[in-house]
Symmetry: C2
Subunit: 292 residues, 2 copies
């Protein structure tokens, strides 16, 4: 048996990727009406899968989308997909799209949701990010902090795609989005933290951030590292004055952020909290795998 | 030959709808990264197709998306699709999705755009809308007027899907979106006008509205009907005091709007400008078909 054979889970069946397609009449395709989650698998164990599925379910309630498969069935499907791909270190994406319906953005007559799960070999972010720190720009596009969709990881992701494109064009690793009040909201694919002395500050949901799973992990871990966590709005000017800054997401885990445009944070050198938090994070990963 | 046989145009080929699917790895599917247009076909002639394609091209520039097919090729494809379906009175949707790419919202390595065109028999909106007027609610979700995406008809449409769902749940025909300053921006599938005496006011692009094709038509037609058009921000309170209100889109053409929640506009009865504008609009349709 080959070590890595690619399989996609689609509505309950494991398929070859080339057979995994969705009908063009699915509202997920026509109107970006759907949800996704990205989960890191360490040594065969999906980390915090329960929390990812919980968030997806919360998003489904906002969208009025019946996911068809319950959390237990989806968790099994994730493991089947990872095993089907012959992977141990992986990144998994779970996507749920609103099903086929009549034209127009009315959801009432849409058929069953289309759910698919993909896995790919993933050994971690580029080491450079941890060693040198990530570089960022401020996106020209804003986060709409008063939209309920801020808190939902939806496939209507284009605003963040545009932000990310700006980062790439500037040769940066990440784009930071401000909200309409000028507060820092989040990165295009990450949450943001700033350390001031022993205070670790992160934007609250009201600033327009996604409730990140890695963000929550850091919030839980930080007190044990002598850091006092505050979910408080952060104006960009305050953020730039931080002693150090951190980015979190489920694939990046915890990484130092050292520049915003031409401005260096914490002297442009990765700080200690980033190192400590990542170490603690990986400790949690190890514990979680041992428990499983 | 049967009168109506359904055909979908997908990347240059006419297919049966059941064969029209897109790969799950297309970024259009994964990240709502794509564009669409809805065009009305009258007696076999797509109305203002040039303007729809112009808007799609403008959107493609914002997204950095190469549509692959030029306006002339797409125009031909629209006609082929309509003819392939055996239709004369139709609604056509043109969709362009960013192609297959590696996971993550980076666009650099995505393959060719996926373009598809669908047509369906369409004889017009429900007559009730013109006779009695449309009923609306104010959406709880906002329009983010400072996003460049306001002016792009993208498939990241979920904010408007949520707004529309609110309207349907309230038994209304349309949801109106306000921007972060409390100005009226647009409807979930329409643009909005308000008449005050002989002034016809519509939110400017800066209020966060899509540059609607039917909106433009009404702006061009109104002076000939003795109406002075102003693109000026409209606070909700001002809007509610209008003598009458109108909705426009390419399928609805021009329709009276008579209520916003429990509030009646213009006594809750369709106004004369709505009737005049629609008549003039249909005159343009007739001219345009005669020219073709």
């Amino acid at each position: 048996m080959p070590e890595s054979r690619n399989r996609v889970w689609l509505n309950g069946r494991l398929l070859s990727p080339e057979d995994a397609a969705v009908p063009i009449a699915a509202h997920g395709v026509l109107y970006g009406d759907g949800l996704f989650e990205t989960v890191r698998v360490y040594a065969g164990h999906p980390f915090r899968l329960d929390r990812h599925l919980e968030r997806m379910l919360a998003g489904a309630r906002v969208l009025g989308l019946d996911l068809v498969w319950g959390p237990q069935a989806l968790a099994t499907a994730v493991c089947d997909t990872v095993a089907g791909c012959g992977l141990r270190e992986a990144a998994v994406r779970i996507t749920a799209l609103r099903g086929v319906g009549p034209p127009g953005p009315d959801i009432a007559e849409c058929g069953e949701a289309i759910v698919f799960i993909t896995a790919r070999a993933y050994a971690g972010y580029a080491e450079r990010i941890y060693r040198e720190g990530a570089r960022s720009v401020i996106a020209s596009t804003l986060q709409s902090e008063r939209s309920p969709l801020c808190h939902v990881k939806s496939v209507s992701y284009l605003n963040h795609v545009l932000a990310r494109t700006e980062a790439r064009q500037a040769g940066a690793d990440e784009a930071l989005l401000l909200n309409s009040r000028g507060e820092l909201a989040e990165g295009s694919v990450s949450n943001v933290f700033a350390r001031f002395g022993d205070r670790l500050v992160t934007p609250p949901p009201e600033s327009g951030c996604l409730p990140g799973i890695a963000r929550r992990e850091v919030i839980e871990l930080a007190p044990g590292l002598g850091l006092q966590v505050q979910e408080t709005p952060l104006m960009l000017s305050e953020f730039l004055d931080a002693d150090e800054a951190l980015l979190t997401n489920s694939l990046m885990e915890v990484a130092p952020l050292v520049t915003v445009g031409a401005h260096a944070i914490g002297g442009g050198i990765p700080g200690k909290a980033a190192v400590d938090c990542r170490e603690a994070y990986l400790g949690r990963v190890a514990e979680s795998s041992a428990e499983a």
